[in-house]
């Protein structure tokens, strides 16, 4: 484990210890279940966004994608009565397809990732609201997709399913990022796109691939989130989720300049964010301070890291 991951893991454990000490509720089985369910759901799409960050890009579109895909998910299942398996395939394909379009715009037209995915953020939110006529979409007591509901809300041997899914996704992505040729090329392109090209790497395809992965994992997460909330209100569903993902990736050691990061770090970063939200609840901090607490803790963490890093490099000189 590298230093970045270790330091954030320590921060996570210290926070857990403090919360547990101040409110033993933290360790109650219900709380652990719920927090780990959220970690699983958020972890899945944060891994996708983190991979994009490793290429030196950014994906701001996932939050709005959850609204658009969530609305479509509800309509396909409860209004059009498509078979659940087909619906899942369509949702995943849509997520990956939107990511592919982002990737093409970024690599072929040389548009900036920030702009492309910001437009996605606006576009998908608007489309979701229009398609749903700005009203909430639910799943009612629809039949034939109980297993989908179970994926979001059920457990396997007491472990929430989303967490199990995240572990599976995490392992696959870990193999991909840290063991495969494609993963090595991703890091190379993120570090120095030109030098990678000079080594014969198809930089553009490698980068576009990262957006496909991010879109695809957003598709997976969109199903989990929709069934977790059990109702999709298109104007607020998934708001700010892209920022949770970016924060998790950066906390976990991904550099926004690209070329740095790990799956393990992103997962620990996600966990840290969820524990912070949990902390606000359990320590009777007003819920309205939710974001403020998160912002403050991240800022302090980043400042401490920066100071330690510059100390370290000074002592080396």
């Amino acid at each position: 484990m590298r230093r970045k991951e270790l330091s954030i893991l320590i921060l996570l454990l210290v926070l857990c210890a403090i919360v547990a000490f101040m409110n033993p509720q933290f360790l109650s089985s219900a709380n652990i279940q719920n927090t780990s369910r959220l970690i699983g759901t958020y972890g899945i799409f944060s891994i996708g966004v983190g991979i994009v960050v490793i290429t030196g890009g950014i994906d701001l579109s996932v939050g709005s994608m959850f609204a658009l895909l969530g609305v479509l998910l509800s309509m396909m299942l409860t209004e059009w009565h498509w078979p659940a398996v087909l619906v899942v395939v369509v949702i995943l394909a849509l997520g990956a397809g939107l990511g592919w379009i982002h990737g093409l715009l970024i690599t072929r037209l040389r548009l900036q990732p920030f702009i492309v995915t910001l437009c996605g953020l606006l576009l998908y939110r608007g489309l979701a609201r229009y398609i749903a006529a700005d009203s909430s979409k639910g799943f009612g007591s629809g039949k034939g997709f109980q297993w989908l509901r179970d994926l979001a809300t059920g457990s396997l041997f007491g472990v929430p399913m989303p967490f199990v899914l995240m572990i599976i996704v995490g392992l696959v992505m870990w193999m991909m990022l840290h063991r495969s040729v494609y993963g090595r090329h991703l890091f190379a392109v993120g570090r120095n796109e030109e030098a990678a090209r000079y080594s014969g790497i198809r930089s553009r395809n490698v980068i576009a691939g990262a957006y496909v992965i991010s879109g695809g994992l957003a598709g997976v997460a969109s199903i989990l989130i929709a069934f977790y909330t059990n109702s999709v209100s298109p104007s607020s569903h998934g708001n700010f989720y892209e920022l949770y993902a970016i924060a998790a990736a950066v906390l976990g050691g991904c550099s926004l300049r690209g070329g740095e990061g790990s799956i393990l770090g992103i997962v620990i970063g996600t966990a840290l964010l969820q524990v912070l939200r949990n902390l606000v609840n359990l320590l009777d901090i007003p819920g309205s301070l939710d974001f403020a607490v998160m912002g403050a803790v991240i800022l302090i963490g980043v400042i401490a890291d920066q100071i330690l890093t510059s100390r370290k490099s000074e002592s080396r000189l």
Binding site: M175, R179, S180, V181, Y182, R184, H185, F187, A188, R191, N192, E194, A195, A196, R197, Y198, S199, G200, I201, R202, G259
Partner: protein
Amino acid sequence: MTNSPFPDLMMHALQMSGISKRFPGVTALDSVSLDVARGEVVALVGENGAGKSTLMKILAGIHQPDSGTIRINGEPVAIRSPRESASHGIGIIHQELEVIDSLDIAGNVFLGREPTRGPLRFIDREKIDADTIAVLARLNLRLSPRTLVRDLSTAHQQMVEIARAISLNAGILIMDEPTSSLTLTETEQLFRVVKDLRGAGVSIIYISHRLSEVQELADHVVVLRDGRNAGTLERDQIHHDALVQMMVGRDLNSFYTPRQSPAGPSSETDCFEVKQMRTRRYPNSEVSFAVRRGEILGLAGLVGAGRSELAAAIFGVEPPLSGTVRIHGVEVGIQSPREAIRSGIYLIPEDRRSFGLITAMTVRENITLPALAQYSSSGFIVRSAEEAVAQKMCAELKIKTPSVEVAASNLSGGNQQKVVLAKWLSLDPKVILFDEPTRGIDVGAKAEIYQLMRRLADQGVAILMISSDMEEILGNSDRVAVMHEGRISGILDRPECSQEAIMRLAVA
């Protein structure tokens, strides 16, 4: 002026004498002198690395001399910063234009000293426009001050820089290769401006590789060689041969052991052929040449002759406008580096830190990067195979590193260059393009790189070696091609190779 007790001193706008400058490991300037009289054009010439740019950087306040004196209008001065340089009336027109193309002409000419009015310091548009028109008039230019610089031709952008310099009351104007990107008519325009400025009493230091320009403009020529004054030619002595003689007249040291036997059997077909290639930099020049198996073809020429652009075109980094590349008589694709690599053409780029290596990655990761497919099975990297080849390459090329897991940024220049080479050696090279293979590398590592290059050639690789280092060219090449302004001005066989012959073709 007549009141001065030293009238001869007052004649000189600039006198630099005994200027020396040492950098770690190199003496860039050794007691160099340069005098420029008021209203005179002095051409400063010399090979790449002769010390011209260091001397000019001293005038620009970027470097401080270790010793020597600088007098401006007879007064000794110290130039400690670019700002002080400007305050002494020194203006510099760089080869790479330094205009801000999203601003208009007026904004560029008066950048950083815009006339303002009112307590909120709004820009005084009327004054800035009027002042700009006045400055442009001195250059016989009638352009609207509000024209955006990006809408101007290169020649006019350069005029904006000159306008900026003279609006600063520059008495001494340094022009570094000012015509390198101008057309013929634009060049003539520039010459008129230079002559007008000279008539108005401005002193001009004109750096150029082009002899015809020097002959046309210079009142006298100062030649630098290896950081020393090699001589001065007065207006009526400026001849091609005299100049070339002065630029190269040094002994080649015996550091190299040039190979005596001719390259391979001469009947063998050319391994690597480039035909009628045109690059973006010189769209009107075609380049054709061939390299035999086992041959090292040196590619000499002055900076800006288009050699690196040629290498970038062959390697597919900047695909050529037209032209073909053949290997063993078969045409190969070079539309991207990937295609070139598949064809067996590899490039060792000049800027290894930006293009040759991913410096933050480890030595192992860098070595295996272009050939990961060889060290993987079904898309996953086989770590042991990867490590084995990295270790083998480090041993074979004598790469000095604590381990293959060290980031490439921690290695010395020579060892970094060997890592770049190692990337390609594990593949099957047919052609290797070396662009300035030993720039910034110490002497010991240089010799090792030369040995490696020769060993590769002996294994049948065709090598094209671009170098601005005359000794490197003469010491390693089996033949030497010389480029001048985008075309090959001549190819010399081993017996004909000499510094004079190469330099003659380079400036021709």
